[in-house]
Amino acid sequence: MEFFGMVITGIGVLFLLLGNFGILRLPDVYNRIQAGTKCTTFGTFFTIVGIGFLEPEWLWKCILIALFVLITNPISSHAIARASVKIGVPLCDKSVVDKTKEFEEKEEA
């Protein structure tokens, strides 16, 4: 059980590390949020559940926390991204299409 927990926590930490690489390497805010959301979802989920396996008394609590993270993680990234769009943070040069203007012009019903 202990070994299993360590492996799972290890996988989680590995993905968090990859997420960090992503934040350092990718070119603009939006791409960085991609790395920040995806790798942290997996990373935190596995880290917390792994801790649950190391300390079996906490397992259910850890799963509950992990589920809350899974539900709320996209919301925080969405808030940051939406704010970036509203204040007009530019996309990087590699970008191929930007329909933000078209979207802003839509009438709010």
Binding site: F15, T37, S77, V85
Partner: protein
């Protein structure tokens, strides 16, 4: 969306669901079956149910049906497999020396009507490979795609949202 259009479930029934959910969370958090723990959990859950049931009903959750539950479980499994794919996808793009990205912001349309369904769809899109939701306006979603394969609305929707929409439609209609 107007709250009147939403098919409400019975007020008692929805309160009961909320109470059961709160009680389960309490049991998991306290992790004990002592009488005093159970009693305080009961009181707190009842109080919270009393104050929150109106908000909970406003979400417009549909009545519980076997077909809906089955579709929701199928949806959860699709979502989990997509989350796993998403993580390896991002890891690959980050570690590749040339960084194979082709980012862009596109619009897709959704046919889902209820707010809660749209929220779930938007969150699912954020968790799936290479896409995340920036904004929602009525039936249009503004989406950032790390590897744009199609700029056209219908085609993009097919690649991004269709796999979730078909389940969510059954669950919420």
């Amino acid at each position: 969306m107007n709250a009147k259009d939403v098919p409400h479930q019975g007020s008692f029934r929805s309160s009961l669901y909320l109470f059961i959910i709160l009680m389960i969370i309490w049991l998991v958090l306290t992790n004990s079956l002592k009488t005093e723990e159970l009693l305080s959990g009961l009181i707190i859950s009842l109080l919270l149910t009393h104050f929150l049931s109106a908000n909970y009903r406003e979400l417009g959750l549909p009545r519980l049906r076997l077909k809906r539950a089955a579709n929701f479980i199928a949806y959860v499994f699709v979502l989990l497999s997509e989350i796993i794919k998403a993580n390896f996808d991002v890891a690959y793009r980050v570690l590749h020396p040339k960084m194979p990205i082709r980012p862009g912001i596109i619009i897709i349309k959704t046919s889902l009507k209820q707010d809660i369904a749209k929220v779930i769809l938007a969150n699912s899109i954020t968790l799936t490979p290479g896409t995340f939701t920036l904004d929602i306006k009525d039936d249009a979603l503004l989406i950032h795609w790390i590897n744009v394969k199609s700029e056209e609305e219908g085609e993009a929707a097919k690649r991004i949202s269709e796999r979730f929409e078909k389940y969510l439609k059954v669950v919420f209609e």
